[in-house]
Every structure is written in C-alpha cells, then in structure tokens.
C-alpha cells in the first residue's frame, strides 16, 4: 500500500504541535499541584468558544481572538484555583478529593457553556457545532500538502517552546515555578511566594489551553466537547513527558502525534476502524505507567 511517509511526518508534526500547546499548561499545573486536573479540558473548550465569539461574532481579527481568549480563560483559571482548589487544599483535601472536584468542575463548566448561550443569545454558544470561517490557503510543497492553519500551529508550538524555555530558565518567575514544582517547602523556605507562583501558573496554564482550543476549533469545530475530545491524548503527553516536565512534554507530544498518525495507517491497512486510534493514546499511557512512571523526564534531568 502506498503511503506518503513525508506527509505522515508533517501530519504528525501538526498533531504533535497541537498536543504540545494543549499539554504545556497542564503539565505545569499538574507539576505544581500534584493532582490530575480534568477540568483543564474545559479551558480548551472555553478558549475555543471565546475565540469564536471574538473573531466570528464580534468580527475582531483572529490574532485578537488569541489574545482575548488567553486573558479571559487565564482569569477563569485563576478564579477556579482561588475559589475552589485553594480552599479545598487548605482544608486538607487529598489528591482524590481534588481530582473528583476537578471532574465535577469540568462537567459543570462544559454544560454551562450552552446555558450561557441560552441566556445571552448574542454569544452564539450552543451544543450544535459552530465553525470558524477564516479561510486558510493550502499549498503543495513537492508531494506534501500544507495549509496555513497547520503552518501556524507548528510555528505557535515552536514559539511557545522557545518562550517557555526562556521563561523557565532565565526569568525569576520561571525559576520560582520550577523550584516550587520540585520542592514547595524548600521554595517557601527560600523566600519564594509559593501562593503567587501557583496563581500565575494556573492562569498561564489556562491561557495556553485557550490557545490550543482556538487552533483545534479552527481545524475542526467549536462545541462544548471540543476539549473533552482531546483530553486523553493530552494526558498521555503529560504522563509520557513526565509530570511537570515541559521538555519531556515536547518530546512526548511528537511521539503521541506520530503514533496516532502511523496508527491510522496501520489500522486501515489491517482493515480496522480508525475509531481505535484513540486507543493508541491509552496504550501509551498504560505502558508509560507500567514501564516508566516518571516518563521521559529523566532524560532531561540535569545531573
């Protein structure tokens, strides 16, 4: 069977880039707060909806949509932590309590989106999907097909990686995030304002999810399950990369993207439904947990 492997690689890079943008925020939050934060999926969906409202309904440019969506969802992320998870953690909630609370919050947020749409019809938020109208040019590079949107997704992922790398290694806040993530007590003892670090990380993480949401929404559709649909591969990336490890996540995002795209080739060659490709993320997750629960993080640990 003919397979255009170069195109498979390009597609994997696009998929991986989207997963990287989506998982960068989650891995930071997860690393800091040490519990699987499922409501993260809803930040992705909210980002897509806010982006859709700003660019399609209000008619502001798409770049404006990215900025506004990043800021608004970032603020929502802060409020979620300040209003729900900080009080819970203070009262001694365990990882299980926090996780269940995050699942509940996710469900509430997801179902609130169409409710808001009912109350404020101007938002055009509902269960029936909406579509971004921006028209992306598509062009051929040799045998490879690329669209403007894919190119921007990859560029955004590279830009994000560089920006986060500089922030985490050079800036004071980045160093504080890493310090708090690896040992909160020591960070506190060293005079780091741990609370402020957590607030900033939650806002930043939620904002990054919003950006991923717009990319995903523009590529497919905007509806309340936009985030939930992709949360499994995103968690697979975070686990494989090593929780809280951004560099691990970069590698893991492209491994998961590649596995999914090759998986589709393999599944169709075997005559199986491509529905099973979501299983690929599951398998990666399970194997990682069995073989190397710390993920790829150790590859990037400075000795």
């Amino acid at each position: 069977m003919d397979v255009n492997w170069l195109q498979v690689l390009v597609n994997s890079a696009v998929t991986g880039s989207l997963y990287l943008i989506a998982s960068a925020g989650l891995t930071l939050i997860y690393g800091l707060c040490k519990f699987p934060y499922f409501a993260y999926a809803e930040y992705i969906a909210l980002g897509a909806f806010i982006g859709y409202f700003v660019s399609e309904v209000m008619g502001v440019s798409l770049s404006g949509a990215f900025v506004i969506s990043f800021l608004v969802v970032g603020a929502i992320g802060f409020l979620c932590y300040r209003g729900i998870f900080q009080p819970l953690a203070r009262r001694g909630a365990t990882i299980i309590h926090l996780m269940v609370a995050s699942v509940a919050l996710g469900l509430i947020l997801r179902h609130l989106i169409p409710v808001f749409g009912d109350i404020f019809p101007v938002l055009e938020w509902s269960w029936s999907p909406s579509y971004f109208t921006a028209d992306w040019a598509a062009f051929n590079l040799g045998s490879v097909r690329i669209t403007g949107l894919w190119a921007w997704t990859v560029i955004a992922a590279i830009g994000l990686s560089i920006a986060l790398h500089i922030m985490l290694t050079k800036s004071k806040i980045g160093k504080a995030i890493r310090a708090t993530s690896s040992n909160p007590n020591l960070a506190l003892a060293s005079g780091i304002d741990v609370q402020k670090v957590i607030w900033i990380t939650w806002s930043l993480g939620a904002g990054l999810a919003a950006i991923a949401g717009i990319f995903r929404g523009a590529e497919t559709q905007v509806w309340p399950n936009t985030g939930w649909e992709m949360i499994l591969p995103v968690f697979a990336v975070v686990m494989l990369g090593g929780i809280g490890n951004f560099y691990g996540a970069i590698t893991a995002a492209f491994i998961v993207g590649l596995a999914e795209n090759i998986g589709v080739v393999a599944l169709t060659a075997l005559g199986l439904s491509t529905s099973y490709r979501i299983g690929i993320a599951f398998i990666i997750l399970i194997i990682t947990l069995i073989v190397k629960p710390q993920g790829l993080a150790m590859l990037f640990r400075r000795s």
Partner: protein, 392 residues
C-alpha cells in the same frame, strides 16, 4: 355539618368522573397509533421534521373521517437517538397506552431490540427510516415493516453510478456503525455483481465522535483513488469535507448518501464549497407521483418550510397504519399485520406495497448534487440531477 358537607362533595367528586366514563359512548374512544421518533439526541433536528410528517398524516386522516368511524390520535414518544431509550418507549406504549400498532422506531439499533418484543406481543412496527439490511434477517421480521428503502437498494444505485462513470479506484470513508458499513458493503457487492474491473483501494471506518479525520483523508489521497463514497451524518460530514478541501481532495469525484443530504451540511462555508466542487452525486429516497406533490404542498403550507429527508416516509407510515386498521376492520395487532402485508396504496413516496418480510417492493432514489444559490442563507443548496426508480 361542615364535615358532612365535605364528605358529600368528596364522594360526588369521585362519582362525577366515573359517570363521565360510563356516559361516554365506547365508539368515540379514539384509535391510538404509536409514534416513536428521536426528537432529541444526534438525530434530533431530523426527528422533529419527521414528526411533522406524522402529524400531517394524522390530521388528514381525521379530516377524512378517521378510521373505523373513530378519530386517530398519535401517541408521541421520544427515543432520544438511543436504542435502549427507544425500546423502553416501545414497551411503555404497548403496556401502558395499549397501542396495537407503532410507527417507528427511527433507528436500526432500536428496531433490533424492538422486533422480538413486537413479535411476542403481536404489535406491528412501521419504521420510516431504519434502513439496516440485517433487520430483514431478524427472527420476527414479519412484524417489522418499513416505508424507507433498505441500504442495499441505495448501495446498488451508488454502485451503478460508479460503473456508469467508469471509475476504477474506489475509496470508501464510512461511519463505523451498521448504517455506514452496511451501505459500504452494498456498494461493493453491487460492483462485484456487475463485474466491475476496478479496485477498492482503501476502506476507512471512522468514529463520528472523534471529529478530526486528517490522517484518514491522507490515506485516501495516498491510495490514489479516483472516486470516494462517503457515508456520514451532518456534523462529522462537515469536518470531513472541510479537511478534504485542505488536502486538495476536491480534485477527485465524491459521492454522498441520505446521511449527508440537507442544508445542515452548508453551515461551514468551506465544507459547502467542497461539496459543490467535488460531489458528482449523492442518493436519497424520494417520492414520485401526484400524492408526493400533494404531500410537499400540504407540508409546506402547514409547517412553513419544505419537507426534508424521511418526513415523507413517516407520512406514509402513519397512512399505512390507518389504512391497515381500516382494512382489518378491528383494532388488533395480528389483524393489522395481516392487513399491512396485503396493503397497496399511493403514498407520498410513490406506490407502496410490502413483501412478505415487510420491505418495500419498489421505490425511487433521487441523485442530488450541491449547487450555489445566493438566495439561501448559506449560499448553497441541494439540487436534483435525476430520479432513479428501484424495484426488488
């Protein structure tokens, strides 16, 4: 004293409804026709329009004097596009409402559950839209009638188009459910039967909830297909078509089916543009004849919009139930079933007659395409190319 008065009032209030019951002549009790449609869930928008078809039929039947001298009422239930929920409603209608004939279910999954039950309780079912072939092989299929045409009939028409146009490299991208896979098999069976010399280069069964089909479409591109048969619903279809546009797949010929017919597909401008450029034709069941013209004008007048897919088959299903009750002369499931097998009448979807396993003996398909039309909200609409009649 007041207590006594209250007691009298209480006794009277109990008696009055009882008296009302006895004074009511038994002959004026209406004839119930069960009506199980999915007005919520994945097929909710379609189900609402199909329900309109049923209501129109019931109104017309009553205007003509009803059935057996009585008025007809629809017992409307919502199957929620969920096999379990639909089956639950079937039991409710039979055991609580006491219906002896049900129009529905809409979907193949609910029909599979309902057929054995219908056989056991002797209740005929008349579905407007469950097209699955395997329903004809179920134990108890003699209780299951349908006014739509089966997937194999639609597959034959699609296969014939591929042969006529001389395509030699077929790709299929179909829903990973009985509808998608059944229609795919029907197309390839027809090609094989007619001695097609081409090759089925790639077969993709996709998950309708995944909503990202770039890699799947890439497979079609790599396989070098010259024609693609796509069996999808609405929202998944939109993403397939817009991603296919991104990949430049509009250069090869695409074919659709009843699942991706309708204005809902044009919500996304790029998907609509793709369908306009790439689609050489799709199929859907369609009505013919004078009764169809009557249905379209009556429906449009009554509901303020043109009927969409399967409103006409539902209209025919309710009429078939009414005519069968009339022919049976009694409101009894077994008698209605026997009457249905001998029934012949002109419906909104053409002449209607059922074979011994309750399938239509003849019908018609429209081959449709997508054209630009600035007068519509989306700028695009479906337009008929030709009507193909089909008979077993």
């Amino acid at each position: 004293m007041i207590k006594k008065l209250l007691l009298v009032v209480a006794v009277l209030s109990l008696l009055i409804p009882a008296m009302a019951c006895t004074t009511e002549a038994p002959s004026s009790e209406p004839i119930k026709i069960g009506c199980l449609l999915d007005t919520t869930g994945d097929l909710g928008p379609m189900g609402g329009r199909i329900l309109n078809g049923a209501r129109l039929a019931a109104e017309e039947i009553n205007a003509e004097g009803g059935v057996l001298g009585k008025q007809v009422v629809l017992v409307e239930e919502d199957g929620k596009t969920d096999p379990g929920a639909g089956f639950d409603r079937v039991k409710k209608m039979v055991e609580i409402d006491g219906v002896e004939v049900i129009t529905g279910p809409m979907i193949t999954g609910a029909s599979l559950l309902a057929i054995p039950y219908a056989k056991e309780h002797q209740i005929p079912l008349i579905s407007p839209s469950a097209t699955g072939i395997q329903l004809s092989h179920e134990d108890g299929t003699e209780w299951f009638f349908r006014t739509c045409l089966r997937d194999d009939a639609q597959g034959m028409v699609l296969g014939d188009i591929i042969l006529e146009q001389g395509y030699t490299k077929l790709a299929t991208i179909v829903l990973d459910n009985t509808y998608g896979k059944g229609l795919e098999d029907a197309v390839t069976d027809q090609l094989e039967k007619k001695g097609w010399s081409g090759e089925h280069v790639v077969s993709i069964h996709f998950d309708q909830s995944r909503k990202d089909y770039r890699s799947e479409l890439q497979k079609i591109k790599d396989a070098g297909a010259d024609v693609v048969v796509c069996v999808s619903y609405c929202d998944d279809g939109i993403i397939i078509f817009k991603q296919a546009m991104d990949l430049g797949l509009d250069e090869i010929a695409w074919m659709g089916c009843d699942g991706n017919y309708g204005s809902g597909l044009f919500k996304d401008a790029k998907a609509a543009e793709f369908m306009e450029k790439a689609f050489i034709g799709g199929t859907r069941t369609v009505g013919t004849g004078s009764q169809n013209e009557h249905f379209v004008s009556a429906y449009t007048e009554r509901f303020g919009e043109a009927p969409e897919v399967y409103s006409d088959t539902m209209y025919d299903a309710v009429w078939a139930a009414a005519k069968a009750i009339q022919a049976a002369g009694t409101y009894d499931g077994e008698a209605i079933r026997v009457a249905l097998t001998g029934l012949e009448f002109n419906g909104a979807t053409g002449p209607i007659a059922f074979n011994e396993i309750g399938d239509r003996t003849a019908g018609a398909f429209e081959i449709w395409e997508v054209v630009e039309d600035p007068s519509t909200e989306t700028g695009y609409k479906n337009a008929p190319i030709e009507v193909v009649t089909w008979s077993a």
